[in-house]
């Protein structure tokens, strides 16, 4: 926050950390069991979505409707396979990102005018409109959604035992690219403006910058990341439906993970997503009727002891070291 030095070298500490994490995950993934690869993939695609949430939160905005773009990404991937017989994961992710980005570009024109609870509720409203439309659209499976299969990744066949590893590797690679991009973005002039806008919009305008333009741009970036996450999810799970994508509970989960992990670093959303998924999986297995309570207690503890999110524990350790 208060670092007077501005990192200009590409290989700073964060970039080295991200590269090391990618390398470790790719190597460890070779020996991980299938369930762990699935778990890791879920953590990464959720982390990518929450990375976009973190950008919005740095700008002082909380979206309760990020599920809209997650859903668009997922359905873009699903319809490519379902209706056009295009089942390449890379194509699906690109399509998901594009669709989410374009829709955010249009909706952002309106949303960038709103702040605080109005922004949150309006974003939620758009998400619920999509949810309502999907529920009523029988061609897209209504409430049940529909299944899809991913056959290739950039032309490489995804079959047999290595399929999960390849999807996991691709997810990690995308997570790395998204985090590296966001790290550079946060260090850039536009990235700094996000925090400046959160602190004092009036001053930003008086310095000659359009607050609405910056918010619009950040909104499109965050939506694109949600679209990537949604497409990855669809490819990894092999099924899309409105309930687990566009419904408000999914958007709520993204907010939950963002608060759990924190917004202080590009690592934080991935840490938050991993912990969230671990707690949910463990709680569902051990306390199937009260698993939500475990998540609630986790959040309560984090908010009391680490109000800056789980990642702030690492920052505090580094400061005291």
């Amino acid at each position: 926050m208060n670092d007077a030095k501005t990192p200009t070298a590409f290989w700073d500490r964060t970039m080295i950390g991200l590269s090391a994490a990618l390398l470790v995950l790719l190597i460890v993934g070779l020996v991980l069991p299938q369930w762990a690869l699935s778990f890791g993939t879920v953590g990464v695609y959720l982390g990518i979505v929450v990375l976009g949430m973190a950008l919005l939160m740095r700008t002082g905005l909380v979206s309760f409707g990020q599920g809209l773009y997650y859903c668009l990404g997922a359905y873009a991937a699903g319809t490519l396979d379902h209706f056009f017989n295009l089942s390449d994961l890379l194509v699906m992710v690109v399509a998901g990102a594009l669709l989410a980005g374009v829709v955010a570009g249009i909706l952002g024109l309106l949303l960038a005018r709103y702040r605080d609870i109005f922004f949150a509720m309006l974003s939620l409203a758009f998400s619920m409109i999509l949810y309502g439309l999907l529920v009523k659209t029988s061609q897209l499976g209504s409430t049940d959604g529909f299944g899809l299969s991913v056959k290739t990744f950039a032309g490489i066949a995804l079959s047999g035992g290595r399929a999960r590893y390849l999807i996991f590797s691709f997810a990690c690679l995308l997570g790395f690219v998204a985090a590296a991009f966001m790290h550079r973005y946060w260090s850039s002039h536009l990235g700094r403006l996000a925090t400046a806008i959160r602190d004092n919009e009036l001053r930003v305008e008086y310095m000659g910058e359009s607050v609405r333009r910056v918010i619009h741009l950040n909104y499109v970036i965050s939506a694109t990341l949600a679209g990537i996450g949604g497409a990855l999810m669809a490819g990894a799970i092999g099924h899309v439906d409105p309930e687990t994508t566009a419904n408000w509970t999914t958007s709520g989960e993204f907010v939950f993970i963002a608060i759990l992990g924190g917004t202080g670093s590009v690592f934080a959303p991935f840490l938050g997503a991993g912990i969230f998924e671990a707690v949910r999986t463990f709680a569902l297995e051990r306390f199937p009727n009260t698993w939500q309570m475990s998540l609630g207690i986790t959040m309560l503890l984090v908010m009391i002891f680490l109000p800056g999110g789980l990642w702030s524990a690492f920052r505090a350790r580094r400061r005291t070291a």
Partner: protein, 260 residues
């Protein structure tokens, strides 16, 4: 000297309250102008209209012969009119360095200002930090700074925009008496090398008479005196309505009459 800023028949009403009433003023390039007047006299309203925060009810504002009336604040800033605030408007969670960096970054991307390279931008930030005595606070969060330093940072952020016209709203309010002159000396010496026209609102007449070439005295939304400091500060209406000496004299006479 050429006129850089001109107000013609500028008025602003809030319902039944008239905050500015037919203000006419020409500001010459490179001059330092003091705006004086009691609270509610219309000084800040004038600054707010020039910088686009308030849209005038009537009248026009010309900047370099261009009509900027009712223009949005960011457009006005992009043209070269920057301002500081009575209550410093900072980015409280960012460091002093980053606060200035945001300003330098925005100015560097403006179409009206020459583009800056990264080393040039850094050099400008360092220069501003040094000029405004912020070296000891470089990495501190702006929200934790003492008031005098916040004021200096607020002005430094305005100067970061490389202004042609700089409007300072009560730059020394909230600053201790010993610090006022030091702060104004810093501001003026930082601007000395640049061709900047300065307008500042001030209540301290010692500051006004020391640093300005010209004074505009406001009362009830009107300009009641306009001229050189010695002339304006002796103006009967200014003495009566702005400085209040007439009132003190009258009050003194009343008191001695009562004592008799």
């Amino acid at each position: 000297m050429a006129t850089i800023l001109e107000a013609k028949g500028l008025s602003k009403s809030f319902g039944a309250v008239t905050a500015a009433n037919d203000i006419n003023a020409r500001i010459e390039q490179d001059s330092v102008v003091g705006l004086i007047g009691s609270n509610g006299a219309g000084k800040t309203t004038f600054i707010n209209m020039v910088t686009g925060y308030l849209k005038p009810s009537a009248g026009t504002i010309l900047y370099q012969d261009r009509d900027i009336t009712g223009m949005q604040p960011r457009r006005v800033t992009q043209l070269g009119i920057c301002r500081s605030f009575q209550i410093p408007q900072l980015f409280n969670t960012l460091s002093v360095y980053e606060n200035i960096r945001v300003g330098v970054g925005i100015a560097g991307r403006s179409r009206s200002a020459p583009r800056q390279s990264e080393p040039e931008a850094r050099a400008q930030i360092d220069r501003l930090i040094e000029d405004f005595g912020l070296g000891g606070y470089r990495t501190q969060a702006a929200g934790l700074l003492p008031e005098g330093v916040r004021k200096a940072l607020d002005i430094a952020m305005a100067v970061a925009g490389r202004p042609r016209v700089l409007l300072l709203d009560e730059p020394t309010s909230g600053v201790s008496a010993d610090e006022k002159f030091r702060l104004m000396d810093m501001v003026m010496s930082a601007l000395a090398a640049q061709r900047v026209t300065v307008l500042f609102v001030e209540h301290d007449m010692d500051i006004v008479s020391r640093y300005t070439h010209r004074i505009l005295a406001f009362y009830e939304g009107r300009i009641i005196a306009d001229g050189e400091p010695q002339e304006v500060l002796q103006h009967a209406e200014v003495l009566r309505y702005v400085i209040g000496e007439q009132l003190h004299v009258s009050a003194g006479k009343e008191a001695s009459r009562a004592a008799d």
